[in-house]
Amino acid sequence: GAGVSQSPSNKVTEKGKDVELRCDPISGHTALYWYRQSLGQGLEFLIYFQGNSAPDKSGLPSDRFSAERTGGSVSTLTIQRTQQEDSAVYLCASSLGAGAWATEAFFGQGTRLTVV
């Protein structure tokens, strides 16, 4: 697609429910990143995909968080048993490759998750 697309734009969920956040990167971008932006905070790295593989999951805050990427394209971030502290904007970005020599990360508009 023309840009990075994320859905839903906004999600309100009850504490304890599972949620799935979707990211559709720019066509041809092999690297995909998930970041979390909490109120008043910067962007916190969650996970990185190169193709369908996730070499680094170190940013995932707990085992309630998981992510997958299929076909080297769409990625889904799943949060199980949501907690109020999971409330944040979840941003997805993609780039041509992991190396930074000729690329920058293009971001989606994010999903604002509110856990009530």
Binding site: F45, D56, A93, G99, A105, F107, R112
Partner: protein, 115 residues
């Protein structure tokens, strides 16, 4: 580990005036990228300007320019002739050298433009 620090949570500037946003970073790498991203209320992160660490010349993009001081690990953004549309959160980011991938972001500076 790399870190990025933005010490100004909020800045204000009069329309048509110039403002400078500060950013410092820490890395042991010699080659890397630095970025300034703008995040308006729409949440879309928009690349404002990019600096390649191996280039001594400061990057410029129309009204936006940077002051890159590699030895001091400083990367400030200057916005000239500020416009109302410049009001947004501005994030400084460190881009990894080849072979790594983790972009490191500062906590952001909220820029208000006063008419």
């Amino acid at each position: 580990a790399q870190t990025v620090t933005q010490s100004q949570p909020e800045m204000s500037v009069q329309e048509a005036e110039t403002v400078t946003l500060s950013c410092t970073y820490d890395t042991s790498e010699s080659d890397y990228y630095l970025f300034w991203y703008k995040q308006p209320p729409s949440r879309q992160m928009i690349l404002v300007i990019r600096q390649e660490a191996y280039k001594q010349q400061n990057a410029t993009e129309n009204r936006f320019s940077v002051n890159f001081q590699k030895a001091a690990k400083s990367f400030s953004l200057k916005i000239s002739d500020s416009q109302l549309g410049d009001a947004a959160m501005y994030f400084c980011a460190y881009g990894p050298p080849s072979g790594t991938y983790k972009y490191i972001f500062g906590t952001g500076t909220r820029l208000k433009v006063l008419a």
